[in-house]
């Protein structure tokens, strides 16, 4: 296939032609049309038929060959019509954790014409471990049809899955019309939560006694709160196996530690590389929010005051996701 140099030049050329635009209307300038492999085969069949017509000097054979050739040409128009004027727009996509599959919702708007078998997918997915999804939908003439595309988000930060390829082979499958569309898709990727212990930095004045006794905020053993449903990221050690064997599903024993104290999740208090630290913080943001516990978050150059609730959690996760990646 193409050498890296060539493909990057190709990407640059595409990027210069295709500007990010949301929504995007497919216009004549951005639709490409070529016969498919099946179309080429059909052409070969037509050539054979034409040879038979010539050699047998048979007018009806000529007629059939020409009829099918004309159908092939007409299908170019139909395929083009199926694409031109189609409006694609991207809705917001929910944030994900790194390593999860991010899903993007694309809206296809028929813009006054029914569209058949429109395939949307990623332009290219060379390094994907999960299969890049593609989606085939019909769009009624005044309908807004959603198509969900997913792609694995590997790294934390703002994830841009890149250009989309929109293709249609309707009605005969002999001709394909396609277009590359940059809807400026993006979603927030939180760090992957990784369980672990955290040095405790207690906010209030009572830090002395708490700090002296337990320098680490861990899965406390002091205060059993109850059982809750297992969530990915929970420690296997805390699974309630008895309940599982009773067929009650996966439950986790939940303990509260350092109750009633505001904690600060401090990046600088942790050791190690940046990403594991962020993963740990992420884990604790989720954990503390799940327990409805108040906490503050401190990152280099960023401080979020102690609060509780979903909005607070989202704000913290956002800061963790974007730490050090935003210009």
């Amino acid at each position: 296939m193409a050498t890296p140099g060539r493909s990057s030049r190709w990407d640059r050329w595409l990027a210069s032609r295709i500007r990010p635009e949301n929504p995007t209307r497919l216009t004549q300038q951005r639709i490409y049309i070529l016969p498919t492999l099946e179309g080429v085969a059909f052409g070969c069949v037509l050539v054979v038929m034409l040879l038979a017509a010539i050699n047998y000097q048979n007018s009806l054979a000529y007629g059939l060959t020409f009829l099918l050739a004309a159908v092939l040409f007409i299908s170019v128009l139909h395929t083009y019509r199926n694409m031109v004027g189609l409006v694609l727009s991207a809705a917001n996509s929910p944030p994900v954790f790194a390593g999860d599959v991010a899903s993007f919702r694309i809206h296809l708007d028929g813009a006054g014409r029914a569209r058949r078998a429109i395939v949307t997918g990623w332009q290219a997915a060379p390094t994907q471990t999960a299969p890049a999804s593609s989606h085939t939908v019909d769009v009624e003439h005044d309908a807004l049809v959603p198509a969900d595309l997913s792609r694995e988000a590997l790294t934390r930060g703002r994830f841009r899955p890149g250009r989309l390829r929109v293709e249609s082979r309707f009605p005969l499958g002999l001709i394909k019309a396609w277009s590359w569309v940059d809807l400026d898709l993006a979603t927030l990727v939180y760090p992957r939560p990784v369980e672990g212990d955290l040095p405790l930095d207690v906010h209030t004045g009572s830090e002395k006694e708490a700090g002296a006794q337990s320098p680490v905020l861990s899965m406390g053993v002091d205060d059993f709160q109850g059982l809750r449903r297992y969530q990915p990221g929970d420690s296997k050690r805390r699974l309630h196996w008895k309940a599982y064997s009773r067929g009650q599903g996966l439950l986790v024993k939940d303990f509260a530690a350092a109750g009633g104290q505001d904690v600060i999740l401090d990046f600088d208090a942790l050791a190690g590389a940046i990403e594991p630290r962020l993963s740990l913080l992420c884990y604790w943001v989720l954990e503390l929010s799940g327990r409805q516990q108040t906490f503050a978050l401190r990152l280099p150059g960023e401080y979020i005051a102690a609060d509780v609730g979903d909005a607070h959690r989202d704000r913290c996760l956002r800061v963790l996701a974007l730490h050090g990646v935003q210009a």
């Binding site: 492999l37 099946e38 085969a41 059909f42 069949v45 054979v48 038929m49 040879l51 038979a52 017509a53 010539i54 050699n55 047998y56 000097q57 048979n58 007018s59 009806l60 054979a61 000529y62 007629g63 059939l64 060959t65 020409f66 009829l67 099918l68 050739a69 004309a70 159908v71 040409f73 007409i74 299908s75 128009l77 139909h78 083009y80 019509r81 031109v84 006054g112 014409r113 058949r116 078998a117 395939v119 299969p131 593609s134 085939t136 019909d138 082979r169 309707f170 009605p171 005969l172 499958g173 002999l174």
Partner: protein, 665 residues
């Protein structure tokens, strides 16, 4: 969820349904000439495939497939006596088309099947190019296209009728482009020779003549050829279509001397005005053509032999179109006796004593050859000879028996007997076979000549006059020449007696006859304008519309015409004007551009009225005109149903004037 490549996916139900339907339609017209076991094979395979679809049977294993293949090939070999030749090839193709059905699993298999189907439809045309065959073949093509549409991943293809509708739409829209291609795509001669459809019993004149053979032929109502004249059709008794001459008699059968007429064209003298006509000849599997005397054709592949007949270099294996010019009253070989004339005196050494005796007697009576021939004709006219389609079988000296005992015979009896008598009297004479007369289709102004118009007559040679035509049948049954066979034999009810349902038998019923003639006219047009539209016809068509004809012009017309038709269809299919109120939008963007030049830019979400108010404030000099345009736009865009652009362009003009004035001031 790992997705298979599109081509590897299973066939949707709609497509499979259409495949089965289309396959049935493809095979149906072939059934007539396919061995019977092929039909059984198809039913078995279709049933099998349906059971597979319903998960009640499995796809064939490799072994079963191989066995089926070998069995089929063996079957074709046994029933066709070989695997070469067009016939066997078509049977093999159909068999492959059928067998492929069983193992169709994926979209790619379906595609192969569909493409095979298109080709199988085409092969049918090699055997049969009737108008009905052509019309019928549109059905399998529509079915195959539907199957192709059905392979798409769309909700529409779930409903079989909408799939069919789409396929039909495509076909209908393809018609104009097809016509352009058909008319102007350059026609080439055959690039290489291919096996032709094998000989099937073609009725027609044969290359020899024995008593009773033409009578046999006259039982057929099959079409021999159609001829259309540029000028009025000549009188019926002038319409002697020469096909062959027989100059050799072995006592029973008249034949041609081998290589006898290969010589160069004999000399002849044109007399009177030429008659121009074109002939569409049905397949005869013989090289000779039919023409009035003395005919000449511009076609390189047609030559005139030394007995004045036209012959083509190859046998007429499919309907053949040619033009000819004839001088009906021409003199044939009037001067020195050629080899052909000398051969026209050959007789068997013995036999037919009574006829020979009569000839000697006549010779004694008449020294003039012409008078002698007249005497022979008079004999036929005055003695009780009977013209009949049911002549008695004659053994031994057949001519003697016919002339003096039975006196019942068909044209070949009379022509043979007369030629024999003339030769016995030392006058060069020969039998000519061909067709006489024909039925005039007044609506189409052309002549249809059928097998029962087959005829045999006599030519004898006289120094100075050349070959003179004499028709003894005319003496016996003038009706045969003046009005046709049906009238001539009306007394004995023998016309087309082997074929009770032939519409030709009911010619006296007015409406059936009208229908028959119209149908024939349609076929004639089909033959002439569709089936025979090859290089020559295309050339003359192009000549007529363009004034000249060559391949470059054709290619130019194909490209240009194709583009024009495609463009028109593109406009019709894509309907770019469907954008709402485009002229109004255009006017408004002009308005915006005008004000933009003056420094008032519209905000994206600003409505026309707000924008105009702002602009009027910024440009007080043109305030009235700006408000005027905005009012007009509002009126056309939001107030009325039928929008006009005139008020807008008026308002724009006023605004332009006012702004221009402001600038110059």
């Amino acid at each position: 969820m790992s997705k298979k490549p599109a081509m590897e996916q299973a066939i949707p139900r709609a497509s499979l349904t259409w495949l089965l339907v289309a396959q049935f339609l493809v095979i149906l017209p072939h059934l007539g000439h396919l061995p019977l076991w092929i039909s059984a094979l198809w039913i078995a395979c279709a049933y099998w495939r349906i059971q597979v679809y319903r998960m009640r049977a499995r796809f064939p294993s490799a072994l079963v497939k191989a066995a089926l293949m070998v069995g089929t090939i063996a079957g074709v070999y046994l029933s066709r006596g070989g695997l070469v030749g067009l016939d066997a090839a078509v049977v093999l193709l159909v068999a492959a088309f059928i067998l492929k059905l069983v193992e169709v699993r994926t979209r790619r298999d379906a595609l192969v099947l569909i493409y095979l189907g298109f080709f199988t439809v085409l092969t049918r045309y090699l055997f049969d190019s009737e108008i009905l065959t052509a019309a019928f073949s549109l059905l399998p093509v529509a079915g195959l296209l539907s199957a192709l549409v059905g392979l798409q991943h769309s909700g529409v293809v779930v409903r079989p009728w909408s799939t069919l509708k789409l396929a039909m739409t495509l076909m209908l829209q393809a018609v104009p482009l097809m016509l352009v291609l058909f008319l102007f795509f350059p026609r080439l001669g055959p690039l290489w020779s291919l096996p032709q459809p094998s000989e099937r019993g073609v009725t027609g004149l044969s290359d020899s003549m024995a008593p009773g053979e033409i009578a046999e032929l006259s039982r057929s109502g099959g079409l021999a050829f159609r001829a259309s004249f540029d000028d009025p059709v000549p009188a019926r008794n002038q319409l002697y279509w020469r096909a062959l001459t027989f100059d050799r008699f072995d006592g029973r059968r008249w034949t041609q001397t081998p290589q006898g007429f290969a010589a160069a064209s004999p000399d002849w003298q044109a007399v009177g005005d030429p008659v121009r006509y074109s002939v569409i000849m049905e397949r005869s599997a013989k090289p000779w053509l039919f023409a009035l005397d003395v005919a000449q054709s511009d076609d390189d592949a047609i030559r005139r032999k030394s007995d004045f007949r036209l012959e083509r270099t190859r046998p007429v294996e499919r309907t053949f179109f040619y033009r000819a010019t004839s001088w009906i009253d021409a003199r044939l070989e009037p001067e020195s006796p050629s080899a052909a004339v000398r051969r026209a005196l050959q007789l068997p050494a013995t036999g037919e004593p009574r006829a020979r005796g009569w000839a000697q007697e006549l010779r004694r009576q008449y020294s003039d050859d012409r008078a002698l021939a007249e005497a022979v004709l008079r004999q036929f006219r005055e003695q009780p000879y009977v013209y009949t389609l049911r002549p008695p079988t004659l053994e031994g000296d057949a001519i003697d028996a016919f002339l003096f005992d039975t006196r019942r015979g068909f044209c070949e009896h009379y022509a043979g007997a007369m030629t024999f008598v003339l030769r016995a009297a030392n006058i060069p004479a020969r039998v000519v076979t061909g067709y006489q007369g024909g039925e005039l289709n007044t609506a189409g102004n052309y002549l249809q000549v059928r097998q029962f118009d087959a005829h045999a007559w006599v030519e004898y040679w006289i120094e100075g006059a050349g070959w003179v035509r004499a028709d003894p049948t005319f003496q016996v049954a003038p009706d045969r020449i003046e009005r046709g066979l049906e009238e001539a034999v009306s007394g004995e009810q023998s016309f087309l007696e082997g074929d009770p349902f032939s519409p030709l038998r009911y010619r006296h019923l007015g409406w059936i006859n009208t229908l028959r003639l119209q149908w024939d006219e349609l076929n004639y047009g089909w033959q002439r304008w569709v089936l025979d539209y090859q290089a020559e016809q295309q050339g003359s068509f192009l000549q007529r519309i363009m004034g000249h004809s060559d391949k470059t012009t054709l290619i130019g017309i194909v490209l240009l015409g194709g583009l024009v038709v495609l463009g028109a269809l593109a406009i019709w299919i894509i309907k770019p004007w469907r954008r709402r109120l485009a002229p109004l939008d255009r006017a408004f963007s002009q308005f915006e551009r005008l004000l933009q030049k003056e420094g008032v830019q519209r905000l994206p979400a600003e409505g026309p009225r707000t924008y105009a108010a702002r602009a009027a404030q910024a440009l007080p000099a043109a305030a009235n005109e700006i408000r005027g345009f905005s009012r007009a736009y509002e009126q056309q865009c939001y107030e009325t149903d039928d929008a006009h652009t005139q008020p807008l362009s008026d308002a724009l003009r006023a605004l332009r004037r006012s702004l221009g004035k402001g600038a110059t001031r």
